[in-house]
Amino acid sequence: MSALLEIKNLHVSVADTQILKGLSLSVSAGEVHAIMGPNGSGKSTLSYVLAGRDGYEITEGDILLNGVSLKDMNPEDRAIAGLFLAFQYPLEIPGVTNMTFLKTSVNAVRRGRGEEELDAASFLRFVREKAKALRLDDDMLKRPLNVGFSGGEKKRNEILQMSVLEPMMAILDETDSGLDIDALKTVAEGVNALRDAQRGMLVITHYQRLLDYIKPDIVHILAGGQIVKTGSPELALELEKSGYADYVGEVVA
Amino acid sequence: MSQAKENIEKETVEKVQSLAGEKYKYGFSTDIDSEKAPKGLNEDIIRFISAKKDEPEWLLEWRLDAFERWLTMSEPKWAMVDYPQIDYQDLYYYSAPKSMDDRPETLDEVDPELLRTYEKLGIPLSEQEVLAGVKNRVAVDAVFDSVSVATTFREELATAGVIFCSFSEAVKEYPELVKKYLGTVVPKSDNYFTALNSAVFSDGSFVYIPPNTRCPMELSTYFRINEPNTGQFERTLLIADKGSYVSYLEGCTAPMRDENQLHAAVVELVALEDAEIKYSTVQNWYPGDEEGRGGIYNFVTKRGDCRENNAKISWTQVETGSAVTWKYPSCILRGDNTVGEFYSIAIGNNYQQIDSGTKMIHLGKNTSSRIISKGISAGKSSNAYRGQVSIHRKADKARNFTQCDSLLIGDTCSAHTVPYIETKNPSAILEHEATTSKISDDQLFYCQQRGLDAEEAVSLIVNGFCKDVLQHLPMEFAVEAQKLVGISLEGSVG
């Protein structure tokens, strides 16, 4: 069976500086992979280049989702194709209510996937049910997108978007950053509820802590723009003890 | 509780208002024989000044041209300052200590009375003293009324290739440099006061930093007005050649006199490719007494030109003196990636009037500017921030951040904010924030509960309010400025 997400020898530069230097990785349906790495290893670059942000130039290699190259797709078409990025720093958009945003987004994706758009009433039912599971109250749906949300609320709102967009492949970029332990648990629960046999996930994190709650099948270590080690979940625990120093050294050498 | 607050407030206000002219410790005058040009302004006076300085013909022509233009101009009226009509024919335009007739070669030859003056002002003119002392080494050009009396550390600076001398000397010794740059940043007829200055300027400092040179010490000019009824019209020209760096400080004081005195200076800065100029001013001209008598009318045009790519000019000013201040140190961001900064503290007390701010003119790509202005009004003073940020059509990705905050102490003063924000380029990002408030009763009460008296509390809070600007001053100056902030508001703290 071919992989759901396949990253092949990916080289990426940002403003003429090479950040990713031949990163390869593949995630099959049903799997959760974690990518751990020190600051500056290229974690955020990886998440942005997967989602198709401007200014991240692929100089070599490719990204395939279900065998289809994402390289020349714009961000919205990647979302329609089933890729979802939970942002490390979700954007605040004043004046656009969360509800309007969610509805526009869900219907754009449904339209793109050839599914029927949801009318106002069924959308409301649909989103309320999902929101309830994440303990997001109605008030948060009415407020402008992420404006005045706490760190935890923003991250739960990201997971809500993931649950309504029903992606094939979800990238979680430092989802634990800025969360206290209770908020982290709630977010992790939300993520775990979305794990299923058809869906792949890539959890990008600096700390092992998140992986206590979202248990990965496979752990990769990213350093100097490359995957330098791949192993079982125990690898994350080891790393917690020994730190990144060894790996950083390895690449520099 | 609210009664208590009221009492605190009342006390604060009284303390602040009790601040009188005698707190101005630089208010003494020096009794010295001076040589003056006759009162009044005409071509002959200009020829007199030029002859006195033994100037070349081209400079005399330059002055006369400025004078001709000045005659056709009128005083600007747009600033929020109000002062009686100045009689330009009732002023002396040139005054110099007689002993300076032949400029002394060494410090030993300088009139001891003059040296004592600077000693009293806390300005070190003896290099040995500076070397031996705890103070950081600072080269000083001391300007007394219309002439420069001494410039220290010249030789040591010369070995680094740095030229630091009085303007008059520069005209004689480096005429090409002066000719090349004079009036290229601030044109003669830029405004009424620059035209006046260009016609009658007496002395000032000249600085040239050669390419790829970091000036080995801080440079500073200390301006002193001594003679009554005499205008001071100094002119400073500072050129930082490619890849150089210089930090320049400027201080000013004047005796306490009941008459107002005119000061109209021009400062021109030129920063070439990759050069950086940091220009700091502590302006403490005599502000007048608590009834609003006397004080300096300070009409100053300061402008820096980031002429080539990656240049940076940073203005920092602490304005505590003068009866009327009219001053807008500005940056022309001509080269690509150039940076302009303006950090200002302006404190008005009694009847002081301040209209000050900056202009940031963005012409090049990726230019950025930052304006932090802190205005404090007490007594019956009026304090206006006036600033312009202008993004021209070709200034892609220009950035500006402006913050101007005003603090009011007492209910008889005023604070104004007049910003002009203009953009012709969509990729520019401009942010502007302004606030006006008073010291909160809660802050005061909190400080007092922790054992500070009202004066100390005000000084502490005001210094905190100014912190974003104070931190941009060179270390030694910052300490002085911090004290000055306290003194100009309270008198007893410091």
Binding site: V96 | L408, D411
Partner: protein, 397 residues
């Protein structure tokens, strides 16, 4: 008492001597009228033209009262409800000149010099029905000069919809006197042809606890000045001024506000959102003056602009002039283009680029449109307006 005719004659002389202001006049620094306007107006209609179609904002609003000014002349007004009375300004000359401003201010003397119609609207109680006053010029040669005085009695309230359309030159002065506890909700819709000159001056005087809520929306037109001056005479007065300016083409639209806090314990809140496309030039000049002894005033001003085109131009001058110490006054201004990060975020959620842009721009002005929630007939009105806004956005995206 000076007669109306005498005052108008005086205004004519002042206009002949001083004409329109140029940019040396600080209030007109960014909008030089002398360079743009003729010094005289010849073609003033004396009769109403027939059968002019007016696209009233309240066309779908039941019970709305409509007054239409065509080419500066009032068409027949329908029946007025109790508590609302209209009389002629010419019979109330004392309302014409109240201060020096009336003879020194170019907008005022020019208006009086050319005045065609002047009316006084007295509101003596709470009026439930929204009142729409529509101004329309039928051709480029038409110039309308109108003055309306509103007087709201103690406790009275009114929802006023003021709308502008057509060609030519429109100059309106509306003076609002609000007595204690009165409330005026004032919506201004400026949607004229691209050759129209609209000089709209709105002066408001607030007594104790009077509330003035203004939402101004400018969608099109040529040269426009939307100026609002509010004077707070007694404690408790509040003014909220919200403006959305959507400009394209070669439009030059100038939003000027002046909040004059004469009294303690008064509050004001000014928000302007400007969107500029094509070669449009937008201006926001806002001034807050807090007079001596006007303690505990809270006044905020916020002006943001979004630049959609390389040829657009924005000038902002937010002033504070403060003479009292126990105040909380602030202004903020931000100018920039569409936030690229936000755009990427929306696109990463499957929303196409054009839709994402429209969403961001709509979000940018929604704070202003949201204020219509408080207006009577709000829903219908909002929908009508949103349709018009959407048309603009679609064109710009």
């Amino acid at each position: 008492m000076t007669s109306f005719n005498h005052m108008q004659q005086e205004a004519k002389e002042i206009f002949a001597a001083h004409g329109w202001p140029n940019k040396r006049n600080e209030d007109w620094h960014y909008t030089d009228l002398s360079a743009r306007l003729p010094s005289s107006f010849q073609n003033q209609s004396l009769e109403l033209s027939e059968d002019v179609h007016i696209d009233n904002l309240t066309c779908d609003v039941e019970e709305a009262l409509q007054l239409n000014f065509i080419n500066g002349l009032l068409t027949e007004a329908g029946e007025l409800p109790d508590g609302l009375e209209i009389s002629a300004l010419i019979d109330n000359p004392d309302l014409v000149q109240q201060s020096d401003e009336d003879i020194t201010d170019p907008l005022l003397y020019a208006n009086l010099a050319h005045l065609e119609t002047g009316i006084v609207i007295d509101v003596s109680q709470v009026i439930e029905e929204p009142m729409e006053i529509h101004f329309h010029n039928t051709s480029a040669e038409e110039a309308s000069f109108v003055r309306i005085i509103f007087r709201l009695a103690e406790g009275a309230s009114l929802t006023l919809l003021e709308s502008h359309s057509g060609w030519g030159h429109t100059q309106l002065v509306s003076d609002v006197y609000q007595h204690e506890d009165s409330m005026l909700r004032h919506l201004k819709l400026h949607q004229a042809e691209d050759s129209q000159v609209s000089l709209l001056l709105n002066r408001v005087s607030l007594d104790a606890r009077a509330q003035y809520h203004n939402v101004a929306i400018s969608l099109s037109g040529g040269l426009g000045r939307l100026e609002t001056r509010v004077t707070f005479n007694a404690p408790g007065g509040h003014a909220g001024l919200a403006t959305a300016l959507l400009s394209g083409g070669k439009q030059h639209i100038d939003i000027t506000t002046r909040l004059n806090h004469l009294s303690a314990d008064t509050t004001s809140d000014t928000v302007a959102r400007t969107i500029l496309d094509d070669e449009a030039c937008g201006i926001f000049q806002g001034k807050v003056i807090v007079h001596e002894d006007a303690q505990r005033v809270e006044a905020t001003q916020k002006s943001d602009a979004l630049m959609l085109s390389a040829d657009a131009m924005m000038n902002v001058k937010p002033e504070l002039e403060i003479y009292a110490d126990d105040v909380a006054c602030a202004h903020g201004s931000a100018i920039g283009e569409i936030d690229h990060e936000a755009l990427f975020f929306l696109r990463s959620r499957g929303i196409g680029e054009e839709a994402a842009r429209i969403m961001l721009v709509e979000g940018f002005v929604s704070e202003i449109l949201g204020r219509l929630d408080d207006f009577a007939a709000g829903a219908v009105l909002q929908e009508n307006l949103l349709k018009r806004v959407a048309t603009f956005l679609k064109k710009s995206a």
